[in-house]
Symmetry: C2
Subunit: 509 residues, 2 copies
Amino acid sequence: MSPHTKYDTISEIAKRRGFFWPSFEIYGGMSGFVTYGDLGAKLRRNIEALWKEHFVRKQGFLEIDDPLINPERVFQASGHLDNFKEYTSQCTGCGKGFRVDHLIEEKTGMENVEAMGGDAIKRLLVEHRVRCPECGGELREPTLILTMFKTEIGATGGETGYLRPETAQAMFLNYKRGYQHAREKLPFALVQASKVARNEISPRQGMLRLREFTIMELELFFDPEKPACPWFGDVRDTVIKLFTEEMEAEGAKEPLEITIGEAVENGLILTEWQGYFMGVGHRFITALGMPPEKQRFRAHLPNERAHYSAQTYDHEVLFETWGWIEISGCAYRTDYDLRSHMEASGTDMTVLREDGTRFIPHVVEPSYGLSRLFLSVLEATYERKNKRNTFHLPRMLAPYQVAVFPLVTKDGLPEKAQQVRDHLIEKGFWVVYDEAGSIGRRYARADEIGVPLAVAVDYETRDKDILTIRDRDSWEQVSLSLQDLAEMLEGYYKGEKDFRDLGTKVIRD
Amino acid sequence: MSPHTKYDTISEIAKRRGFFWPSFEIYGGMSGFVTYGDLGAKLRRNIEALWKEHFVRKQGFLEIDDPLINPERVFQASGHLDNFKEYTSQCTGCGKGFRVDHLIEEKTGMENVEAMGGDAIKRLLVEHRVRCPECGGELREPTLILTMFKTEIGATGGETGYLRPETAQAMFLNYKRGYQHAREKLPFALVQASKVARNEISPRQGMLRLREFTIMELELFFDPEKPACPWFGDVRDTVIKLFTEEMEAEGAKEPLEITIGEAVENGLILTEWQGYFMGVGHRFITALGMPPEKQRFRAHLPNERAHYSAQTYDHEVLFETWGWIEISGCAYRTDYDLRSHMEASGTDMTVLREDGTRFIPHVVEPSYGLSRLFLSVLEATYERKNKRNTFHLPRMLAPYQVAVFPLVTKDGLPEKAQQVRDHLIEKGFWVVYDEAGSIGRRYARADEIGVPLAVAVDYETRDKDILTIRDRDSWEQVSLSLQDLAEMLEGYYKGEKDFRDLGTKVIRD
């Protein structure tokens, strides 16, 4: 990393303006936790809403919201109690614990050391003489440590519980209810956007590795004998960049460019449902502002895959500071989870086919980490030009939709501008009002938080109800009547109108 | 409770259709946890959005999203580590722990035993010979038990952490950032709608006492020498039902009916900001469907108040099954919290007045529990008539906005109906489609989940694009052209049109 990276720049703006900052600042902080401010909370919500537009509303999939705290038996059945572990080493000097695969990666520049397994990790630690990154002390032999947060449910004489490290189990636990609410028809999906927590050993990568975050996850249940996805035609011709398992194993440098239709036909993607969700995901990430050339899909190698997965493709995007980063995984979980919970709970999870045979539904899961999407949006839309910062946020993601400024703070213009602000608030818009400093400074402040449109109130507004709107991206201005303002903005935010449709172009002399 | 209460009825529908049900059902359940299904998740989101309309967007208050897991020092400073405790007794027989004040209340019918203090609780336990509700065994002498979930942050050699039992501390921890983002001007507010967890000893009241839930909380920071609320005029004339501290102490049976303006003038409500938020809350709860006659405000007695509060009013609503239930509290927290964190962290929380004096801002806090609001909506809008269940959900809360039905499943009507569905989905509506059973049954199914409008597709639709819309509440029908449908529905959901404005009344012969 260079001394001042793009991520540093974005983080500085994020703190100063209110997107995000490290949590518990006044108590010296605590790594792995982040606080979202006003702009961040709104941007997150808008990303989540856009995810629902792509993955939930159109398909009519079923939402669910299940607790973060789960009793131990859930994770016994799911396999997490045995598998959600990392190789960890304690320093003989300072006593701190560290995740060994990450230390090896930092020291050697190797990638994906976790996938090499315990013996390799232990060997590499010794071979490369990795020492404590805090005090330089010697590290103990690594052991596998469970990385879920543990607690006691019931303040006295209670039961062991854990905070879930993913939301998927909720969909399996409640699968029978979901099937009932889907009127006992396959395929259907349960989706959830909710909090998870992972007790990372020593997170040192800011927003990239959080101990508490939000996952947006979808579990699609289908009959493996009827694996067709009814919407597959929507994505068949979408071209994606793919590293298949074979290419990964061979260490290929360049991805395959291929349509999703071909990738499924050739067996590179195992099911139509994975292909469908990879295509929808591609469209979703593009809508967040990340262009197709900065997106690719990378298959997990068998020893890298989670214990439940038959095939997983990570969706990666390119960051200037870190290179390619996983923002999503699309896994074919087969019937692993429902079968495990069926065995552990004794609840029948099978479905009856018309021919009288019974089966456990198979599952495909696309899963997104909200904080990485959030970072992707800031990364993709940030621009520094003429010493000014602008986030070119897609209009449906902008925390505030309109800024209202009086040209000057006299002659009744602030009063008129406040009327305009109140009118737009009444009409349902998220509005910022600013009268401090020159109008140029105010435009710059609005650009820095990604407000797409700014309305200036001048003497013509006061006398004739004629306003000027400025476009954040082109700095062009159009004029229109106050009477038309709300309807025009509505058309703009629905995506039915472009900026130039909003009024008459203003020619500056 | 009668053997089959209104709550039982609502719970049965909630499970069957997908509003909510007890969590971890397939593993025998775990009290204090609830799962929201598709309808519940959507209804919750819509309630939260409506709360933001009343408490956030119009005022331009600042949102925030802070972690659920906090290090111990936060709760040391806030006083929770010393105060967030309940008198608990363990059974000498079965070993289970119970919250003693609740056991006494159940046995004696007394109310608010917690507020009587430890000595009274210990005495009442003995006097009334309260025994274990599970096995009838003898109970040990009660002790104070901390009711926060405890965990270890960092899977090895970490630090003690707790899940926060309220979200308010987040606003105090991040107050300095908020002040910066509010451009260093008072008053301003930080608001958060987020998860909290309370390690209840023995929750046995279903949705009323959850171990994990969502709180929607607002902390308003102001200068105690400038206590005026700029929007107080909006609520001055609102009439509310009030039990003041004095009336509570005297055991008054009937509330005072008084305008908020008078209550503040007479010192019954200590600050304009409390009055303002109580008035906005009154309007918000009315918008959820709960009429003013089923709302009242009740002051906490000094020994009932939380350790930080100078005055607290609970907002209560009337449930058929349980009587008056607290759904919100509005507390005047003075400068207690910022002062505590200033002392514990050494961070300066003071603000400079123009006259050169320094002060710590005072805080007023309106706080809502989302799950109780959720229950209030179901309670207030449920109707059973002619053996049919209807939730008369306010239109902005309905999980699904439109149902689309083909009149019959032949002659091209399903295909036409699917086109209508796709058109409405394209236009941004939440749509259910149903073609199973008689049209009467389908209307009944839609009424039971509170869909405000149902569109029937018949031969006239197929041949002339004329549709019929049915109103859930009046069962009236109007007809209109497919071309106008989306725009009409938009006007209806913005509240600009009533049902009868949507088309021409259909006269049935």
